[in-house]
């Protein structure tokens, strides 16, 4: 052949390629008139052109290492496999080679198809696939599905399948060549549906439905082929669980694959519904539903996963019902398609019989949802790689590396997106927030809440590791961590399970997640208030843990954050939160004893700011119990703060008034909740305690004891929760002013009982949760008992020995008290009122020792 002649061949070939089969013949007849050689040449090239897996379709390098058998197919011809002799190669690909073969023993001369593993090619994978296919086919016995006849292993140990040999044409070509009417095409399509549906009923998803795998025999019988990448939906009893996972390298035809296949999502029967939709589109219009060829990964993603296909009727005159049916099958979202192949087939039947079709009811929402949302870039990245690999579109290595990185990230993220994202939402919204919030104020819920904490933390820590750069998820996580921290031991207000250090850890995690989000996006009010809340919680917890300097830093952050927020969004919630922050900051500053810049009344200033805001809000919303509760708390805070470092009679009076205001509000809240809200009950307990403490300080011991006693039935109500650390701390808290009042009133026996009982409770508590508060209270109990014994010593019977016994006990107890107090004062500076038992212990110890000495000398 000469180059000129070749040019002529090329021209004719190219032109013929553009034509369909019948026109092609006419064209060749005309063009090659009188040149039979030209015609023969072009026809043989066209034949070769129509072969699917040409040797050079895969780049040469793809053969490096793999050692794929391609030309080796010839070697097989004449070979015996089981009872069969190979006659010819029908097709080959990554998943197997298919040969035509006949029985050697000539029991019958019907030919069969034998599917073999291509030697050396992804062997383990393909072997598994072939076994899976055999198992799948063994369960399928349908006239329209190519039958499995036999199976075995070759002499080399390679498995093979013997299948019914189907002589037929691909569905689309059959329809075109026979110029079937629309009705005939739809009827044929329904037969395909019936075969697919049969497989679905046996839990087999074909996953590669396309005209090439749907042959029509000369008799017009449909035959479904190639379950090579089909999948059993549920492992059967004898499936060892080693069913091959379909990886990205699975053979897949982008032109017929569903979005979830392109994106590597979960494959269900809905994927076959989609592929059948593409097939139907093709049968109706003669073209693909996609506007572009899917040559590039980007095109495939865009067309398959994102763009809505033009309705079939845009190509030719067609009933709108058929538009609706086709587009319903082609919905991007699997759950928006027909629920089954039967339903699709049924709708086609309804159309054929002139009945209204189901699909038409669906059209309003049709464009509303898209399977791939724009912001899910990571999923798209995964899809890009999938298509790149599967569609034979070969990206450069650099692109591949990027894609690989993206894929890894995307797989993690999309997996998270698909699976974990919903679970964190569920966890955060239902499991933690709703459940926790529903039970948190119920007496007796601590154990249930502790279980919540453990489970929640397990989830959260896993999720946090996967959160990557997803802000939305990070924000959810942060909120969940804050909630969990609350349960682990919120400083004030709620029954907790006594693990403040762990709670601090949870808050730190929340803050670490939120700070970068807020820095990057200051307009994110939600994240900003979560962060402010995080600072506040951290501050309160640090305060309880006896780290006031750190607590001040955190509460200052909270105040600044909330001041800005209340300015940006001055609604009730924000103003109340600001008041909260002021309150916390006030007592934190007060507790820390100093503030950078050194205003001693800084605490009072903030506490008054909080009260002012909340009084306004409470006036605006008199029925809002939460606001009322906050106001009461603010009064309490102010009451404590106004006392100042060295209380004077005026400041004590002022403090008492604010405590009483708080008490009045809380008492109203307890009454309105029938005493069932432990938060209000506890607030009232603390109000009583505070009043008692002040009254003791003002030497109104009777008033102190009355108030403390009034709180005891309230405590009993809270004590329903046996495991509740907080109640025990509160009880001990109350025991101190009660015992002291009793002591001062001379009711020593009563006082002793109170102190001893609570000393025991506190000893137990300190093992689990050794806060400064617990330490301090242990000191007060020891001091109280020491005082009891010191006073008993003076009235003791039994002379010097009786007195000595009490004095020695008192001395030991003073020492013990001092030991406890020293631990506290090493960390915090106690205010005047709290210093009283400390100083009294020191002087008591000296006094008792002196008396002991004096007595011993006698």
């Amino acid at each position: 052949m000469t180059p000129d002649r070749w040019q002529r061949v090329k021209d004719v070939f190219s032109a013929a390629c553009e034509l369909d089969a019948s026109e092609r013949n006419r064209y060749l007849d005309e063009t090659c008139a009188g040149d039979a050689a030209l015609r023969a040449e072009v026809v043989s090239l066209l034949d070769a052109h129509n072969q699917t897996d040409a040797v050079i379709d895969r780049p040469a390098a793809a053969y490096v290492g793999g050692g794929e058998v391609f030309a080796g197919s010839d070697r097989r011809i004449g070979q015996r496999i089981g009872a069969y002799e190979i006659v010819a190669l029908i097709g080959h690909g990554g998943m197997g080679e298919v040969y035509r073969a006949r029985r050697v023993d000539a029991q019958y001369d019907k030919e069969v198809a034998i599917k073999l593993v291509p030697a050396g090619y992804h062997r383990d994978f393909v072997l598994q696939r072939l076994r899976a296919e055999r198992q799948i086919l063994a369960n399928l016995d349908h006239p329209d599905i190519a039958r499995l006849i036999d199976g075995g292993a070759t002499d080399e140990g390679l498995p093979y399948l013997v299948m019914e040999l189907v002589a037929g044409e691909p569905l689309d070509r059959y329809c075109e060549q026979r110029k079937l009417t629309m009705r005939e095409r739809l009827q044929l399509f329904r037969e395909v549906c019936a075969a697919v549906s049969y497989a679905h009923q046996r839990l087999v998803v074909h996953r590669d439905l396309k005209p090439g795998n749907i042959l029509v025999t000369a008799e017009g019988r449909v035959k479904l082929l190639d379950f090579g990448i089909a999948k059993l939906l549920q492992p059967s009893a004898n499936d060892t669980g080693a069913a091959p996972t379909i990886t990205l390298m699975q053979a897949l035809t982008p032109g017929f694959a569903s979005p979830e296949q392109i994106l590597g999502g979960t494959i269900t029967t809905a994927s076959d519904v989609y592929s059948l939709g593409v097939v139907l589109y093709l049968l109706l219009t003669g073209r693909s539903p996609y506007r572009t060829s899917l040559d590039s990964a980007q095109d495939a993603i865009r067309e398959v996963c994102d763009n809505d296909p033009p309705p079939p009727s845009s190509h030719l005159s067609l009933d709108r019902d058929l538009d609706a049916i086709t587009l319903r099958a082609l919905r991007k979202e699997p759950d928006k398609r027909y629920r089954s192949v039967d339903e699709l087939s049924e709708d086609v039947r309804r159309h054929l019989e002139g009945l209204p079709v189901l699909a038409r009811g669906d059209q309003f929402s049709y464009r509303a949802g898209k399977f791939v949302r724009r912001h899910r870039i990571e999923i798209i990245a995964a899809g890009v790689l999938a298509v790149t690999l599967l569609g034979g579109v070969f990206a450069s290595l650099r692109e591949a590396r990027i894609a690989e990185q993206q894929r890894v990230v995307a797989e993690q993220q999309s997996e998270r997106a698909e699976r974990h994202f919903s679970s964190v939402r569920k966890l955060a919204d239902t499991f933690v927030f709703q459940v926790h919030d529903a039970i948190k104020d119920l007496p007796g819920s601590t154990a249930a809440r502790e279980l919540l904490v453990t489970t929640a933390l397990e989830y959260l820590n896993t999720l946090a590791a996967e959160a990557g750069n997803d802000r939305e998820l990070q924000q959810d996580l942060a909120a969940a961590y804050e909630k969990v921290g609350d349960i682990q031991g919120q400083a004030y207000g709620q029954a907790n399970v006594g693990a403040p250090r762990l709670a601090l850890d949870s808050y730190a995690k929340a803050i670490a997640l939120l700070e970068p989000i807020v820095a990057a996006d200051p307009g994110n009010i939600g994240a900003r208030s979560s962060l402010a809340q995080g600072y506040l919680r951290r501050s309160r917890l640090l305060f309880v843990l006896g780290e006031p300097e750190q607590a001040v830093v955190a509460s200052q952050s909270a105040v600044s954050a909330y001041e800005a927020l209340a300015q940006a969004q001055p609604d009730i919630v924000m103003r109340a939160s600001l008041a909260d922050a002021y309150s916390s900051h006030a007592y934190t500053v007060d507790e820390a004893g100093n503030i950078p810049g050194g205003q001693n009344d800084a605490g009072v200033v903030y506490a008054r700011k909080a009260v002012a805001i909340l009084e306004d809000l409470a006036r605006e919303r008199p029925d809002d119990v939460n606001l009322a509760y906050k106001l009461a708390k603010a009064y309490s805070s102010l009451a404590i703060t106004v006392l100042g470092d060295v209380p004077r009679p005026e400041t004590m009076q002022e403090s008492l008034e604010f405590h009483r205001k708080a008490l009045a509000v809380d008492a109203r809240l307890v009454a309105s909740s029938s005493g069932m809200n432990s938060k209000y009950v506890r607030a009232l307990v603390l109000d009583r305690m505070n009043v008692a403490l002040i009254l003791n300080e003002m030497a109104d011991y009777r008033g102190a004891v009355e108030n403390a006693r009034a709180a005891q039935p309230l405590l009993a109500r809270l004590r329903t929760d046996a495991n509740n650390t907080q109640v025990r701390v509160d009880s001990a808290n109350l025991a101190w002013p009660l015992g002291r009042g009793l002591l001062e009133l001379g009711e020593l026996e009563e006082a002793r009982k109170v102190f001893e009982q609570h000393a025991a409770v506190l000893a137990e508590l300190s093992a689990a949760s050794d806060t400064l508060k617990v330490q301090y209270l242990r000191g007060t109990m020891a001091y109280g008992l020491a005082e009891v014994h010191a006073r008993l010593a003076s009235t003791a019977a039994g002379g010097a020995n009786g007195r000595l016994k009490h004095l020695r006990l008192a001395s030991d107890l003073y020492s013990e008290a001092i030991t406890h107090f020293e631990r506290v004062t090493a960390s915090v500076t106690l205010d005047h009122m709290d210093r009283h038992p400390v100083e009294a212990s020191i002087s008591g110890l000296a006094r008792s020792k002196a008396e002991i000495e004096k007595l011993q000398r006698i």
Binding site: A60, V64, D124, A395
Partner: protein, 203 residues
């Protein structure tokens, strides 16, 4: 494994740039380096081959470029040129190997290949394939030569697409035609080669 230190890192880049600037002698020096790189890469991929690196194994030419050319120094044009010569070298690597193997089988002894002189670090006969590739690169090479005689551009196209593993777009860039032309020409070349290869010894 390739010793990174032995590779004249900047050398390939310099040669490529000189060749791009019209220095034909640079190409003569460049070819053996590219040849060896590709051979090493092929071997390396064989060693690392676990069945899941299909994509990487199709992209030896691209990888070679990334490995031996300083991308900061060369532009798009030079990369295209590199892909062109690398595709040509990839063809030689695979075909040389196939010839040596079949010669060894026939007992002729290792046939000396002109470029083999530059091979230092590894034996020439170290396998490129996990097992004998059933695809006969020598036969494809013969068929391709016949096509080149008829239509040099089509021969080039097959070299780039099949041996180089280049995309339609890259191939179009190397040859300097439109992607549509590549697609059309590719269809014919593909059919022609498929016929030649499957019908055995073509006319």
């Amino acid at each position: 494994m390739n010793n990174e230190n032995n590779r004249p890192a900047g050398k390939v880049t310099q040669l490529l740039l000189r060749w791009s600037a019209g220095d034909e002698a640079a190409l003569t020096a460049l070819l053996p380096l590219v040849y060896e790189e590709l051979r090493s890469l092929a071997r390396r991929h064989l060693r690392h081959e676990r069945g899941s690196h299909t994509l990487q194994r199709t992209a030896l030419v691209h990888e070679a470029f990334l490995r031996i050319v300083d991308q900061k120094q060369v532009g798009w044009e030079s990369r295209t040129q590199f892909y062109g010569i690398a595709s040509q070298m990839m063809r030689r690597v695979l075909v040389d190997y196939a010839r040596r193997r079949s010669a060894a089988k026939r007992g002729d002894g290792a046939q000396h290949v002109d470029l083999a002189a530059i091979v230092e670090d590894e034996s020439e006969d170290a396998p490129l394939f996990a097992q004998e590739p059933a695809i006969d690169f020598a036969a494809i090479d013969e068929a391709l030569k016949r096509l080149e005689a008829l239509d040099p551009q089509q021969g080039r196209l097959v070299e780039l697409r099949f041996f180089g593993g280049l995309s339609i777009k890259e191939t179009a860039d190397v040859i300097g035609v439109s992607p549509a032309t590549v697609k059309r020409e590719w269809a014919i070349a593909r059919a022609w080669l498929q016929r030649e290869i499957t019908t055995g010894e073509g006319a």
